[in-house]
């Protein structure tokens, strides 16, 4: 129980939930810290509130990291805390703002890397000596520039004053010359690692004054004196006391001292006591003992601050995403189970009114539950967007370009799982824009553009999708160059005239394409836009490229709101069921056999309102047995994705339903790659339906390309 582990936290304490809480909170603080630093940088100064906040952030990081024994982080935060402390404390202090922001951001990066290591159960052993040295140099320079003394700072005079004050409350004037007093000497020894022994002694003296007439102690100066702490550690804290209280009372009080290792207590004579009296005659002032001046900030703070954020802070709890995922799964199952019950054919035949009423109620509640679960998982894009400010800032510095990042619609919400996957692509696109897209100021001015470039990051809802648009006002894409490059890389086999602008631009998304010969630090490290495209596709989205040469480029990421639930149309082919996402369906219609014709390659086509669409017979495509092979018996469903469409031929429509998307089981995926399947879902009757991924089907060329 004596905590011999020094300042270490006992190992039993560091367990998973603690680590999780630490990583979670510290990551958030670091994110806020970074945002705040970047904001301040834009304003070119720290606001008072901002400074306080940065100081508190550093303080919290220091404390929490020390508790977890991540000393690298803790020490670095401590150094920064020291710097911000001085800036916050000293009025009119001058300091290198830009340098401080740079150093602070460097520290933020260090924290991030270390946290990542901690998250991945690696040792947080990053070397930060250089940064710490820079911070020390910075602090020393700031202090000497402002005449604050290299080590001392303002604490010193305050402490001196406090020391003098402290001398005064040795005596209780009210009890003076009352009865005969007794004299005792006492030596308190603290446990080895209790820390701040001087203040602990100070606490004893401060709290004992009600019991004693006079008290003198060794060491005398127990206020802000490191030597005192060391002395007490080595020799204990000795007092001589003059009191009218019972011996037992005093002894009991001293014995209650926390972290008491041992107490020596004995009665002494008056002469012995007087030996300790300091030469200076203490003034007999008491009761209104002055509080040692700490620092002005703690005094000046308004007693009653706004109490708004109190309740705000508390109404938010953090939940592990895994739990949300399984809740989502369960609600999905619930929706299916509900359908299994209410749509049970046997029950349907009974026609019970009360059952239908109950079923409707159940349906309403499960629907609401589903919406709520979805809403819980939705997070605004703002944090992801905020990160981009940092990217732009760093790039601008390194590339000596002047670029503004404009953010629109950052409050748009997207499923948590999706957000995680778009952060890297976004970063890559923005780097590309700054590196390749936006010209340097001189070129821009020559072209009649504002010297400062602009990158706009916009998010907006569009149906069940979210569009994230990254637009720059740079030099745009060169259609010919892209085509040539794609041609030499063997990525294209058509002539440029046959291709729409968008198609040509889309070539930059193809694997193995990169127009920049020189690999720069930021973009073009061998990973190209194809990775971006792949990442976005992996969450069911896609990438569109638009550009006007000389005016700029837009890259549009179309991402689904959520992966978990879609509105689908169930169709039947033979005994198999398929589900088509409603968003992809244009229309469905019956047709006569003679409306379908065969092109020169043997593909079936149908002409609808003057436009030709390929026909996809699902029963052939997936080799399903069905009695319906003639067009006048089944139904055609026109689907579209990215301007490309086709007509799917199926036996019949079964109806529209919200379905919970489940990915195909791993063993199926391993066994065979099946085109056109996006996943599967359970239907109300318990049967499995395969969800079609329209984008993967055999579709027509984009209409624009076809010249329509």
């Amino acid at each position: 129980m004596d905590g011999k582990g020094g300042i270490c936290v006992s190992n039993s304490f560091i367990d998973e939930p603690m680590l999780e809480a630490y990583v979670y909170e510290t990551s958030q603080i670091i994110e806020n810290l970074e945002t705040l630093l970047l904001e301040s940088e834009r304003e070119n100064s720290f606001s008072e509130e901002g400074l306080n906040e940065i100081f508190r952030f550093m303080h919290t990081i220091k404390g929490s990291s020390a508790m977890m024994m991540f000393n690298g982080i803790s020490v670095l935060a401590h150094r920064l805390e020291d710097i911000y402390f001085v800036i916050r404390e000293e009025e009119d202090v001058t300091y290198g703002f830009t340098e401080l922001v740079d150093l602070s951001l460097e520290a933020v990066d260090y924290f991030k890397v270390e946290l990542m290591k901690i998250k991945n159960s690696e040792t947080a052993d990053g070397d930060n000596e250089e940064l710490i040295d820079s911070l020390m140099v910075y602090l020393d320079k700031m202090k000497s520039d402002n005449g604050l003394g290299a080590k001392g700072d303002k604490k010193q005079p305050a402490a001196k004053a406090a020391e003098q004050e402290a001398q005064k409350y040795y005596i209780r004037p009210s009890n003076e010359e009352k009865a005969e007093a007794d004299y005792y000497s006492a030596t308190v020894r603290f446990k080895e690692d209790c820390e701040m022994e001087d203040i602990r002694s100070y606490t004893i003296v401060h709290n004992i004054v009600d019991l004693v007439e006079e008290i003198f102690h060794t060491p005398e100066d127990i206020i802000d004196n490191e030597e005192a702490a060391a002395y007490i550690k080595a020799n204990g804290f000795s007092m001589v006391i003059k009191t009218t209280c019972e011996e037992a009372v005093i002894k009991e009080y001293l014995n209650k001292t926390i972290f008491l290792e041992s107490l020596q207590f004995q009665a002494i004579g008056k002469d012995a006591f007087e030996l300790f009296r300091p030469q200076v005659t203490p003034e007999t002032v008491k009761e209104d003992v002055k509080v040692p001046k700490s620092s002005k900030m703690y005094k000046e703070k308004p007693k009653v601050a706004k109490d708004t954020s109190v309740s705000l802070n508390q109404s938010i709890i953090s939940v592990n995403v895994d739990k949300l995922d399984s809740l989502m799964d369960m609600v999905g199952e619930l929706v299916i189970a509900e359908a299994m019950v209410t749509q049970n054919p046997e029950v349907g035949n009974l026609e019970i009114e009360s059952f239908e009423k109950a079923a409707r109620q159940l349906h309403k509640i499960t629907g609401e539950m589903q919406d709520m679960v979805m809403a819980i998982r939705m997070v605004p894009l703002s944090t992801t967007f905020m990160k981009m400010h940092r990217i732009v800032r760093d790039m601008c510095k390194k590339l000596s370009k002047d670029v503004d990042l404009e953010v629109i619609g950052e409050e748009t919400e997207v499923d948590k799982n999706i957000i995680e996957k778009i952060s890297d692509p976004l970063m890559h696109i923005i780097r590309n824009s700054l590196d390749h897209g936006i010209e340097d100021s001189e070129t821009r001015e020559m072209m009649g553009k504002p010297a400062k470039g602009t990158v706009t990051l916009e998010a907006k809802n569009s149906g069940s999708d979210v569009l994230v648009i990254i637009r720059d006002d740079g030099k745009g894409l060169n259609k010919e160059k892209i085509y040539e490059k794609a041609l030499t890389n063997g990525l294209v086999d058509r002539s440029i005239e046959d291709m729409s602008d968008r198609e040509v631009y889309s070539l930059i998304l193809a694997p193995g394409f990169s127009t920049k010969e020189v690999v720069t630090e930021f973009s073009g490290r061998g990973v190209g836009m194809d990775v971006v495209s792949k990442n976005i596709e992996s969450v069911g989205g896609n990438v569109l490229v638009d550009s006007v040469e000389g005016e700029g480029t837009s890259i549009i990421l179309k991402i689904p709101l959520t992966l978990a639930i879609i509105e689908g149309m169930n169709i039947r082919v033979g005994s198999a069921r398929f589900t088509i996402p409603i968003m992809s369906i244009q229309e469905s219609f019956r047709s006569e056999n003679n409306e379908v014709f065969v092109d020169t390659d043997g593909n079936e086509m149908i002409m609808v309102r003057g436009i030709c669409y390929p026909v996809l017979r699902l029963h052939e495509f997936y080799d399903v047995d069905t009695g319906i092979t003639s067009f006048d018996e089944g139904i055609l469903i026109m689907v579209e994705e990215d301007d490309r469409s086709c007509c799917i031929f199926a036996d019949e429509l079964l109806g529209q339903q919200q379905v919970v998307v489940k990915s195909l089981p791993e063993y199926v995926k391993k066994y065979k790659k099946i085109d056109g399947l996006g996943g599967c879902t359970l239907l109300g009757d318990g049967s499995i339906s395969l969800i079609l991924d329209v984008g993967e089907l055999r579709l027509s060329e984009p209409r624009r390309a076809a010249g329509i």
Partner: protein, 119 residues
């Protein structure tokens, strides 16, 4: 059972303290995220002892300590401080803090300090 109220703006620290006092004869009757919150909640739960962080937004631990002491002179408040905050701890002691503990601290230390406030 010693009834404690934990005041800290850092969720991690609140969790740490909660975890440390678990199964040691304590009941965490309230948590507060800043000084104002603490002062407001103190009356409702009247804890045996309060652990009070010093650096917090809205109202810092020293002001909260003073406010609590004013309302209830018998309140037991243990300051949770860090290295480098010595002057503040002194001010806290003068303002009526019963004791203090220095971050980083280990469980036995915390328990030792808090146990002394058992009835």
């Amino acid at each position: 059972m010693i009834r404690i109220m934990i005041v800290d703006d850092a969720a991690f620290m609140r969790e740490s303290i909660k975890l440390m006092v678990k199964d040691e004869g304590f009941e965490v009757v309230a948590e507060a995220v800043n000084g104002l919150d603490a002062v407001a909640k103190y009356d409702d739960c009247k804890p045996d002892v309060v652990t009070m962080d010093i650096t917090m937004p809205e109202m810092d631990g020293i002001d909260a300590l003073k406010a609590i002491k004013q309302k209830d002179p018998g309140a037991n408040v243990v300051m949770v401080s860090a290295m480098g905050q010595e002057p503040l701890i002194r001010e806290a002691v003068l303002s009526g803090a019963s004791n203090f503990i220095v971050k980083p601290f280990a469980k036995p230390k915390l328990i030792e300090v808090l146990s002394s406030f058992g009835k």
